[in-house]
């Protein structure tokens, strides 16, 4: 029965949604302290290449590779973040844009390591490795009526969902903490925040580095879900796409990023004819959102409205109402 329900196509789409959510959160975190980074594709690439190279050449377990990818992206994030703090607003955006492109050009040219535009193939696939592990310990997906690829993508999806839940939980907590309030204060008015005695350097680097870590982390996951990466995956357009997730969904609350990534990943899948006009729609979204709803679809007031409604109608069917808003 389970076997008939689980279509790998949907599992696959859902897995990409999960990865995109992490990317959207990475932009959200940097934006939450008032910084705009267009370098997320670069950090994503650093994470992806780090993890892929470590697992291919040194046969490290995937989880070590992914964590290393996130850490390396974070370290580079700090290195870029500290000097870049002298820059504000648009200048930071442009410096990070330049950074992202330099990273891509390095991937293209450093052929001895990255194999240039040929890309890295044969990256250990998260699901396939797990399948092997399960088969080694004597468990076969047939035993619960699943085909190999159903089992693989189910596992991948479960892991990604788990990661997402942890991340959303963590960052929601952080938002309510001293750190989150400091980010918000800096976003509101940097000079005032400084005058209040906040160490703005620390908090700005922190938020920038958190964004870098998340982007690197998502990149590493991407590498192990696709099993093939090439420099073209981490170009300028990717950075813009990630930005759109957050701008569209809402850049003030974390659920905005979640919603934006989910909706915009599903949209071209659900409506195939849209696929062709996907980028034009993305462009229009950016222009319209800035003009009419710069905070994005979901903001604090939308959440409050939900909260009220959920409370008053508790016990009714949640699923349909939430669907309506997706």
């Amino acid at each position: 029965m389970l076997g008939e329900i689980l279509n790998p196509y949907y599992l696959q789409v859902a897995a990409f949604i999960m990865i995109n959510i992490i990317l959207a959160i990475s932009i959200y975190i940097t934006l939450s302290s008032g910084q705009l980074s267009l370098g997320s594709a670069g950090f994503m690439g650093i994470g992806a290449y780090t993890s892929a190279l470590l697992t291919i050449h040194f046969e490290l377990p995937i989880i070590v590779g992914i964590l290393a990818g996130a850490v390396v992206a974070g370290i580079i994030g700090i290195l870029i973040g500290i000097p870049a703090l002298r820059l504000q607003g648009v200048y930071l955006a442009i410096a990070t844009l330049g950074f992202g492109e330099v990273v891509r050009i390095i991937f293209v040219n450093w052929e001895s390591v990255t194999r240039g535009s040929i890309g890295l193939s044969g990256i250990p696939h998260m699901g396939r490795e797990l399948l092997r592990f399960f088969k080694d310990i004597g468990f076969d997906p047939d035993m619960i009526g699943l085909k190999n690829n159903q089992f693989i993508y189910l596992l991948v999806l479960l892991i990604l969902v788990l990661i997402n839940i942890i991340l959303i939980w963590f960052f929601t907590r952080q938002n309510k903490s001293r750190i989150g309030r400091a980010f918000a204060a800096i976003k509101m008015d940097e000079k005032a925040a400084e005058a209040m005695g906040l160490n703005i350097t620390y908090y700005k680097v922190l938020s920038f580095a958190q964004g870098a870590v998340l982007a690197g982390f998502a990149g590493a996951l991407y590498a192990h879900v696709l099993a093939y990466i090439s420099p073209a995956d981490f170009a300028y357009h990717r950075a813009i796409e990630i930005l759109i997730f957050s701008v569209f969904g809402g850049s003030e609350v974390i659920l905005g990023a979640v919603f934006g990534a989910t909706f915009l990943t599903l949209l071209p899948e659900a409506l195939r004819f849209i696929s062709e006009y996907r980028y034009m729609i993305y462009g229009a979204i950016l222009v319209l959102m800035m003009a009419f709803r710069p905070q994005g679809i979901i903001d604090a007031s939308v959440l409050n409205w939900f909260k009220k409604n959920l409370k008053s109608k508790r016990g009714t069917n949640h699923g349909t109402r939430i669907n309506k808003n997706n």
């Binding site: 859902a14 085909k147 969902v161 839940i165 099993a227 090439s230 696929s275 949640h318 699923g319």
Partner: protein, 385 residues
């Protein structure tokens, strides 16, 4: 705040439910009655992944046109009855992977044709291999693709076959000693072509005077060409897609470089003449496809294609056309719509006569074929002697 978290779970869970519910409908209908009975024609569904929307949509269109034309003829013949299920990958790895999952999870689909780009193939092929479904690329020419697995094939001639053929003839004709290489280094296709060019040139003991690169969206190649002009090579090896390639030739001729150019698969298109005009003269390419070949099959194909789609078929359409014939032959020989039986009979294909010539697979599932070497002369592709 708790509620916020809870809600995020809810959103995710609800989404999952929608997805699961939707897919329940889709896969429920799969049943065994589609398998051909022993006496009638073997009927089967074949999945097609093609690049149908986005900047490279023209490739995907030519390819699907080629499939459809062959499909009519094959089904008319009556040995097999094939139905194509076409999905769009938009030239993106993620999308190619998701639609391939869609196709692979449909039990009625026996084998897959496509995807269009080598980058997509690199992602899709391992997945097809692990799921035990044959996949055949009609336009994926990068090195190493059929080697991905037992279920992975192609009928497009790789650069490792095309470039040596062209280079040998060019070296003999022009007494080439020194070559310059120019290639696009931010594209899988051209990079892979370059790797082959460099290796072949080294194997033939040619002196490589310089290696220059260019990038997508660049319109000024003067700096590279001035450098090349100064080094006076006997031949310029250019691994470029026809779009950039034609512009490069135009700027080179304008600068006074009249050295012949030698291109890979991506450079081989009538569009080169359209874009570069007279400057295209002197381009040498090796190709399995030559529309002017004096062969009744080829001419019949060109005519039918023109009548149906209102344009001349290119290499991509021709390769797709032959690919469907290869699949039909394999299906006929397999005798049943079974994925494994299909693979085994596909691997056995030998000496199949198509519009590209005589076709066989080697042990990896790669192509064995003799390409034709062409040169552009007086604004036309002609056989290079």
């Amino acid at each position: 705040m708790r509620r916020v978290i809870k809600k995020s779970y809810l959103v995710i869970t609800a989404l999952m439910l929608v997805l699961l519910a939707a897919c329940g409908e889709g896969s429920g209908s799969g049943s065994a009655d589609s398998k051909g009975s022993s006496d009638g024609p073997v009927s089967a569904k074949i999945g097609v992944i093609s690049y149908l929307t986005g900047p490279g949509a023209a490739y995907g269109e030519a390819i699907t046109n080629g499939f459809n034309l062959a499909l009519e003829e094959v089904n008319e013949k009556g040995d097999v009855n094939i139905e194509l299920v076409v999905e769009d990958s938009a030239g993106k790895q993620e999308q190619a992977l998701t639609v391939s999952q869609k196709l692979m999870s449909d039990d009625e689909i026996v084998a897959i044709l496509g995807p269009t780009l080598s980058t997509e193939m690199n992602v899709v092929a391992p997945e097809a291999d692990i799921n035990g479904i044959s996949i055949l690329g009609t336009s994926t020419t990068a090195a190493g693709i059929p080697q991905i697995g037992d279920y992975v094939f192609r009928n497009s001639i790789p650069e490792s076959l095309a470039i040596p053929a062209a280079l040998e003839k060019a070296v003999a004709a022009y007494d080439v000693k020194k070559v310059a290489i120019l290639y696009g280094n931010d594209d899988l296709f051209t990079q892979s072509g370059f790797d082959t060019m460099k290796k072949v040139a080294e194997d033939m003991n040619l002196e490589i005077v310089t290696i220059e690169t260019f990038q997508k969206g660049q319109s000024d190649y003067n700096a590279q060409l001035t450098k090349i002009k100064d080094l006076q090579p006997d031949l310029i090896l250019a691994s470029a897609l026809y779009n950039e390639g034609a512009v490069i030739m135009g700027q080179a001729r304008k600068m006074g470089i009249d050295t012949p150019f030698l291109g890979g698969n991506g450079f081989n298109s009538p569009k080169v003449i359209e874009i570069a005009g007279e400057a295209a003269d002197g381009l040498i390419v090796a190709t399995p496809w030559f529309a002017e070949k004096e062969n009744s099959k080829v001419q019949a194909f060109v005519e039918k294609y023109k009548a149906k789609y209102g344009m001349a078929p290119d290499q991509f359409a021709a390769q797709a056309y032959d690919a469907l014939y290869i699949y039909a032959e394999a299906l006929k020989n397999a005798g049943e719509a079974d994925r494994d039986a299909f693979r085994d009979s596909l691997a056995e294909i030998k000496g199949l006569e198509g519009i590209l010539g005589e076709f066989s697979f080697d042990k990896d599932g790669d192509v064995i074929m003799d390409p034709t070497v062409l040169i552009i002369k007086d604004g036309k592709f002609q056989i290079f002697e």
